[in-house]
């Protein structure tokens, strides 16, 4: 039985400028102790997916339209607020992108660390403080026994993120959702933070959902991958499958953008264009307008079907482009075409 099974999760925002389809029918599952990486650009809906699971979406404009998220035998999306509060911070914890704004500056770290414990366990303050100090030590904060009483602004960004991790894991949850935990940090600190997450995960056997735009990060730490675009699933599978045999044009293009995999001295590759406007309905594959592959007609209908490439590896099979060739060939041709145009002008 998977720890978490999400089926057709759909979250829309009803704004005065239209209905924003932030998450449009996303499904995935997660086993105990597994790490799932959700990858996509800004606006792909990856963060909103996680907020939807925790029901942290502001309900007036936002609404979870349909779908189920079975966790531990219950549907997260249909729980009462009371039951939900028992899950949050206890069975499922979340850490956020910006450690500078995600910790309350008016309260001491100790207060915020023991809060989850006091909320979910019957524990006295002294014991809770003890655990808090332990938690800080486990994430590698020196002098934990005195620093625990500091205020957040006395910590650097990287330290604060460690504190957030400590806060999230102090109750030893079954699942940790990490929403771009390293994006706001220096590159040098990023690796450290990922190490800490990995290490604590091993210690506790926690499952992790890692949300990121950095495909390289996913390669190093995840078991499974879900590639999102325009609020929809483009491709999903194990890390090996996605990296060695990417099927969807978007996944292939994303791989091309990883700096460390590119030739030194060449211009960095980026996918031209902007993400789609999800307040307008999308016909067919969401990536179609930006797809570098040769196009066959205009997409119609709602969305392409999910096809299996190999066991455990699915992709959103767009029928309106010819993605049989490897992407290098297509990109090389694009360069040649561009050069021809330039020569033609001259």
């Amino acid at each position: 039985m998977p720890l978490l099974e999400v089926d057709d999760l759909t979250t829309y925002f009803h704004t005065r400028d239209g209905v924003v389809r932030a998450v449009d029918g996303v499904s995935f599952s997660l086993e105990n102790g597994e790490t799932l990486g959700i990858v996509g650009e800004s606006g792909s809906g990856k963060s909103v997916t996680c907020y939807s699971l925790m029901r942290l979406i502001p309900e007036p404009p936002g609404r979870i339209e349909r779908g189920t998220a079975m966790f531990d035998g219950q549907d997260l999306l249909r729980m009462s607020p009371r039951e939900l509060r028992r899950v949050r911070g206890c069975k499922i914890s979340m850490i956020f992108q910006d450690p500078m704004t995600s910790i309350n500056p008016y309260l001491r770290i100790s207060t915020q660390l023991i809060e989850a414990l006091q909320t979910h366990r019957d524990i006295d303050k002294k014991a809770a403080l003890h655990k808090a100090i332990e938690a800080l030590e486990e994430v590698g904060i020196p002098g934990a026994s005195s620093r625990v009483f500091s205020y957040p602004h006395e910590f650097s960004g990287g330290m604060r993120q460690r504190v957030m991790i400590a806060m999230a894991l102090i109750t030893e949850p079954d699942l940790l959702i990490a929403d771009e935990p390293t994006t706001a940090l220096d590159v040098t600190v990023q690796a450290l933070i990922m190490d800490i997450i990995k290490q604590r995960q091993n210690d506790l056997g926690t499952a992790v959902i890692l949300v990121t735009h950095d495909l390289g990060l996913v390669a190093g730490s995840c078991d499974k991958v879900l590639v999102m675009y325009g609020g929809r699933e483009m491709e999903s599978g194990s890390v090996e499958q996605i990296f060695h045999n990417p099927r969807h044009p978007y996944t292939r293009a994303l791989q091309k953008t990883i700096p460390s995999l590119q030739e030194k001295g060449q211009e960095l590759f980026t996918i031209p264009g902007l993400p789609p406007d999800v307040s307008k309905p999308i016909h067919g594959c969401a990536f179609h307008p930006r797809c570098p592959y040769p196009k066959i007609g205009q997409p119609e209908g709602d969305r392409p079907p999910l096809e299996e490439v190999e066991p455990g590896h699915c992709w959103s099979a767009c029928g309106y482009c010819d993605s049989s060739a490897p992407i290098e060939a297509v990109l090389a041709k694009a360069d040649v075409d561009a050069a021809e145009i330039v020569e033609g002008d001259a």
Binding site: R85, G89, N104, Y106, L107, H153
Partner: protein, 305 residues
């Protein structure tokens, strides 16, 4: 912290000196003098004024002499009321104004702050619209309109409360309510704004993600930061209550400092004006210092300034 307080007190002393100087100059610049009015001034008063500093002396000398006297606690004689010194007048009226002022301020806080918190928590519902509309009405009805209206309704029509004088606790109700409602309205709006800003912060989302109950989020996480705009306003609120007292004491005939100030200004009772102005300024300086101390206590980031 001690250094902070000492610095601020020193600053305050300079501020008071500045206010004294400005007031002195303004009063001196006013055409005429207590002697030029058609009222005959009693010779005793003339003598006292002469003793205090003498009107024929040059400006600079007058300034320094009176300043010297001031610092020693001698504020001079009233130029209009025979046989009464400014100190006496202040001593009689200060307790009255203090009572009125503190009750008004307390009322303003007790009405405004909870209303603001409620409005923020129940944003965009009736519990938000109603208190905020009422507070908007409160801001638009100045004390000299609200006062007479309240007096009319509760005093003359319903006959529930007295409208003039200061002979017992029931005499405080209408005037304190007039002042209190006005500043309560400000506190309500400021608190609502402050709480809303707190509730929109990312760390509230983190707390929710930890499963913390909504009420805990409001009281434990948001209140400290949310109260800051209201606390900051305490200084200006006190200044406003002082100037509001000019009006309220006139309307409800309360023997407080406010009434004295207006009369003194209009009647060229120079020393009284000087004494009262410096007193008011001192009260505000002290209040601002207290406010700053509270702010530092509430906001840990300020400790390191």
């Amino acid at each position: 912290m001690l250094k902070f307080v000492a610095m601020r007190l020193l600053q305050g002393a300079f501020v008071l000196l500045g206010i004294y100087a400005v007031t002195f100059l303004l009063v001196a610049a006013t055409p005429g003098s207590p002697f030029s009015s058609e009222r005959a001034i009693a010779p005793e008063i003339l003598a006292q004024i002469e003793a205090f500093y003498g009107y024929d002396r040059p400006l600079g000398e007058r300034f320094l002499t009176s300043l010297g006297n001031f610092v020693q606690g001698d504020f001079g004689p009233s130029a209009v009321y025979a046989n009464r010194t400014v100190t006496q007048i202040i001593a009689e009226s200060f307790p009255v104004s203090l009572k009125l002022g503190s009750i008004s301020l307390l009322l303003a806080l007790l009405l405004g702050v909870p209303a603001g918190i409620l409005a923020a928590v129940k944003r965009n519902t009736w519990l938000d619209y109603v208190p905020m509309s009422v507070s908007m009405a409160g801001i638009c009805l100045p004390t000299f309109v609200m006062g007479p209206l309240l007096a009319l309704v509760f005093g003359l029509i319903l006959q529930w409360l007295p409208v003039a004088g200061w002979y017992g606790p029931e005499f405080m109700i209408l005037p304190a309510t007039t002042l209190g409602l006005y500043y309560g309205a400000y506190f309500a709006r400021l608190t609502r704004g402050g709480m809303l800003e707190m509730l929109n912060q990312d760390w509230v989302r983190t707390a929710r993600a930890k499963g913390v109950a909504e009420s805990t989020i409001i009281w434990k996480h948001c209140l400290k930061g949310g109260l800051i705009p209201a606390i900051t306003f305490l200084g200006p609120a006190l200044a406003g209550i002082i100037s509001g007292s000019f009006v309220v004491e006139t309307i409800f005939q309360i023997p407080g400092l406010g009434q004295w100030f207006v009369r003194a200004a209009l009647n060229r009772d120079d020393f009284l004006v000087l004494g009262l102005t410096v007193l008011f300024a001192a009260m505000i300086v002290v209040m601002n210092l207290l406010v700053d101390i509270v702010q530092v206590a509430l906001n840990p980031r300020l400790k390191y300034d």
